[in-house]
Symmetry: D2
Subunit: 146 residues, 4 copies
Amino acid sequence: MSEPSAPALSRETATALLRDKFAPWVQALNLSIEEIGPDGVAMRLPYSDDLCRTGGLICGQAMMTLADTCMVFVVSAALGGFREMATASQNTSFFRPAIGTDVIARGRALKTGRLLVFGEVTLYVDGDDRPVAQATSTYALPPPKS
Amino acid sequence: MSEPSAPALSRETATALLRDKFAPWVQALNLSIEEIGPDGVAMRLPYSDDLCRTGGLICGQAMMTLADTCMVFVVSAALGGFREMATASQNTSFFRPAIGTDVIARGRALKTGRLLVFGEVTLYVDGDDRPVAQATSTYALPPPKS
Amino acid sequence: MSEPSAPALSRETATALLRDKFAPWVQALNLSIEEIGPDGVAMRLPYSDDLCRTGGLICGQAMMTLADTCMVFVVSAALGGFREMATASQNTSFFRPAIGTDVIARGRALKTGRLLVFGEVTLYVDGDDRPVAQATSTYALPPPKS
Amino acid sequence: MSEPSAPALSRETATALLRDKFAPWVQALNLSIEEIGPDGVAMRLPYSDDLCRTGGLICGQAMMTLADTCMVFVVSAALGGFREMATASQNTSFFRPAIGTDVIARGRALKTGRLLVFGEVTLYVDGDDRPVAQATSTYALPPPKS
């Protein structure tokens, strides 16, 4: 999805950005970057009782937050480096409960335009290939300075 | 939107539910119920540096979480009492930044069916009637026991 | 939603645009402009057996098409004149069936930006104020020429 | 996605359903079933000037209609036979224009529940593997009779 000449956004750089560019409340999720490249990003939300409604059910709010955060890295990796951007819209569908387990996000860009980037993030519980949720997003990039 | 005979869900009961039925990570937002009735619910997200990316910009993830939480009360109030329910989908659009201020959510049900409830939550910054974001949601109710 | 100085897009001009700027297959719906102004647009989809699945049920595809067409006029009216634009996304929710009757669309802009416009269209059956469907949309405007 | 014992919905049966179960206005698109099976459905929208705005640009309304129609077959094939169903929501994103060419839809179910089915349809122009649009949908099945 990215131009071949785009320089890589390394896992180390992305991990540092995760600490620097996101709100403390989002950082409290202890997200980590599992894989990052121009073709996609995988992130992990570790299980915590703090994220659960009754019964070990991970709340949908944490999953929407994971998906949005993952997309920031998808877009940045597709563009070759971190970019300030604004979520224009995120549509999240919830298929199955995630109970008592880490959640893995796998995101990819569907279209990388000059002003708009479209992407998709699918969420899984660790070790199961049936999706638990999916988000499709539109991000607006700041217009290039002339 | 609710049947006329639906008993009220009081602000006190809703406030207690906010402490009992949501994940600790969601409770960290310190949301409060401002108004609640069968025709709609208003909630407040108090400003906190913990919710901000750089520059006092309240993160979209907190706004999606506010909208989802508000809709649980919209649906419960429309149905006359708290109901277990699952978010089927939430589509959130972001119009303007919310900077350095509380965010107010105003939600209402658009259709209260037996199995599906549709609703809409519009977010404002306190004291400005231009919306900063809007979420439309579908919730699935558990099938009635026979 | 529009700037005060925006010149009006009249109902006559809009009706002519409906003939000139849309695909013949969309024109086959015989849509008409009922009201148009900077604060919103109302359009009518007249009932026809051609739009129905069995039982006089107006197909959702016609309602999505009505909503998208209405939003083009909402955006144009908010901007003061017809603009080439591209739908970036449209999220449509269907609440109730529309059976054997005209469908009325009422659309308005939620945010009119320089590059993105957000809007909402609610659909009704004629004479009933309960919505049958609702669409929220994002439109991308071509960047201003420098 | 379907249970192993689900009987097949053949291409011939699906083609007949396309004539019997959809509105004449939808049939005017001359859609055809290219592939159908429990794991997914491919459909073709043949190019026609009737679907175009100026410049051979296929209108988004036809693409939303194609996606919705494709999902009816995705759900039916996943469930082993045609089922009456109602679109609860469809979220369509438009990435690139489709100009002067057939459009191919590839749809699949993401979750087949007892009451709700979630799916995704990606649209391509013939011979190009970059998506031009994508729709995610939720369908409500009528409750089983007891």
